[in-house]
Subunit: 232 residues, 4 copies
């Protein structure tokens, strides 16, 4: 079971490279096995070309301790654990420094839903966290990065808005599986790029009206969904 998950996490990490979302050793993807209470995550700073499925690191969801694997896990592991702990329905997380989403994070702007492409995947704006305080940076920085994300989702459904911009930093996306978390990273980068271009054309473009936002999100999600094949 964990072998299968290691392969999935490995595949998801490599897809980040293929989709052009990461450079060098940047980025990381993980999955959680909630029965075993284990997080499977990319090792820290290993070149993607040399990475193998067996390099994936096993970390306890409860203690954060390494419980399997020869390598040190991603430095961002405490952020992943914080998200898995708070968002109990998610199964995978992807973190990239993709160009456009990172630029919006640096500009500390949430991404308004300007069109159907956005509404098909995010049920409202993609939120942006507050900046971390100096004390939150000095101690347990990565854990506190998770904390400000969770704080931002206090009144939001993480599966209806499967991603966030961490102010000054970059995006995190998630979903029920790590494969879909990576797919959300792909989608996020594209809708951010569309939003940039939309603003370039018209600085005062207004977000989608609620009826359209509902229509498109619910075409693809929930009981009334009619996009895709029924048996899927």
């Amino acid at each position: 079971m964990l072998e299968k998950l290691k392969q999935e996490v490995y595949d998801a990490n490599l897809r980040l490279v293929r989709e052009g979302l990461v450079l060098l050793t940047w980025g990381n993807a993980s999955a959680v096995d909630r029965t075993e209470r284990v997080v499977v995550i990319k090792p820290s700073g290993v070149p993607y070309a040399e990475m193998r499925p067996e390099h994936m690191v096993l970390v306890s969801l409860d203690t954060g301790q390494i419980i399997g694997g020869q390598l040190a896990p991603s430095a961002d592991t405490p952020t992943h654990i914080a998200l898995y702990t708070a968002f109990t329905e998610i199964g995978g997380i992807a973190h990239t420094h993709s160009l456009y989403a990172t630029a919006w994070a640096q500009a500390k702007r949430e991404i308004p839903p300007f069109g159907m492409t956005h509404a098909d995947h995010f049920h409202g704006a993609v939120p942006c966290t507050r900046m971390l305080k100096d004390s939150e940076i000095r101690t347990n920085y990565e854990k506190n990065t998770g904390k400000v994300i969770v704080e931002r989702f206090k009144k939001l459904d993480p599966l209806a808005r499967p991603g966030v911009l961490v102010a000054n930093h970059a995006p995190f996306t998630w979903c029920t599986t790590v494969g879909n978390a990576v797919e959300n990273a792909v989608v996020l980068e594209r809708i951010v790029q569309m939003a940039s271009e939309t603003l370039m054309l018209n600085r005062s473009t207004t977000p989608l009206k609620k009826s359209l936002l509902e229509k498109h999100f619910l075409r693809k999600h929930g009981k009334q969904a009619y996009y895709g094949q029924k048996d899927k």
Copy 2:
């Protein structure tokens, strides 16, 4: 005959991927056989890599009912049918969420003819529809998407302006064949990108004067055309 059309529609859909106009399962292309009164269209939500020619779905041009194929057709099928019904000279349609055309649709701006590249393919601005009303969104949303496109072309020749931006949504293009509809999607994305960059350089650039617009469109289209090989 329909087997050949299924292959053509399949090829056209895959070309959308190769040209970088669609991501994941986004986008769709279709063709119509007006003798058989059948629309051949991409199935809904099937990954492009797994799609085969035999997955194309046959839908009645008159009733919109599935009349062949094992899968559910694209959710946008009612839009395609509305266009085939109103624009009787077209034979194929392509729908993408290509980056630049979608951004202009989100900004709700028609695309002015700023240069010859535009004039070679579109005989005037690429129009943008009005926004749908809430009642048009709630019921028969996809059919009404077709309705607002047709409404916008009341005084326009669909073959002389083979594409449109649906406000808040994305572009549709068409032509006499599905292959050429996809080619128009490729051209549209490029001229939109040129228009964005032109505006970036000079916000008050004026559209092409009429004499140039005529010259370039008529070099390639109509009886006086002298571009290309005579026997083509």
Copy 3:
């Protein structure tokens, strides 16, 4: 001799595709044999994937008549002939609708020399022509396109500024060989892109001062050149 030139012209046209400077059947490259007084040019509207060296068309430099080849030459042939006639030192021409250079042509702006990359290849701004008059558009449009380019170079050395933007249309580049003409099209597109980005950062950036412009152009061109290998 002409066989060799047909191969060169064919290769140059295909390189326009590989470098991303043309889409579909857009663009064309040609070479001249001044002894034989023959222009070798791409056929009109033939897909690049189906084009073969033997499809290149031979046209008289003096009369513009086809003197070899089975296909109709590029519709822009009269422009090429006008340039070969006026610029007696050039041996090859490339015409593209490359994204950035075309956007500047649409904005009707010459490209100021903002940096060394520009100065390495163009000894001053890349000029932009005036717009054609209606009478020049109605009759002999392509020949008159050549005329306004030549007019713009009245006081300029075509080899020191091996390219131009035709207002509302797109760029032409040239050089002593068709291969180098294509290389200048590659360079032009990149320096235009750099100029766009430079202006985005600072609308009031001033062009390079004369001493730097001279230094860089003369590092690569003329008797004092010291870039590259001596025997080259």
Copy 4:
């Protein structure tokens, strides 16, 4: 030993092409052997496709004279020597005309640290040199290019800010090895692109606060670094 370094320098130069940082024969990378007091550098103006490891040129670090190789060294060799002489801890240098970094150099703007991606690699803004004086351009231009870089780093640590923009020209990056110098060129281009996009979204974005800048740079560099594998 020098054979190994020639191979490394050759590999580094080819990587500049693969990463899309150079066109045609633009750009160059070099390494220094401080024991032998030899600089190994790319030959001038040789097409990358024809370049071989044995074409790398050996130049004396002390006199600038060619001491090995059949070809003339890069015209920028005196700049490299000036940097190796002043920055005694660096082992390799890369020079490109990469699109975004060159545009910022042309706009004569230093690159503020807008986010963690920047802070992971550059401990503060990427500096921009002053413009060269006419006398510095006329005589020993390339050496003086090195001089203004060194001047700009009077109070800066070259390993903590491993790159610079030369005003009106383009970037230079460096590191302890030529491979890492090229990696810094890759990183620089990406963070510049992020900075451009950030400014497009918000002209008045402020740089990262000091606590975050410190945190991220020191996660990866120095004694307290905890990114990557311990034994690396």
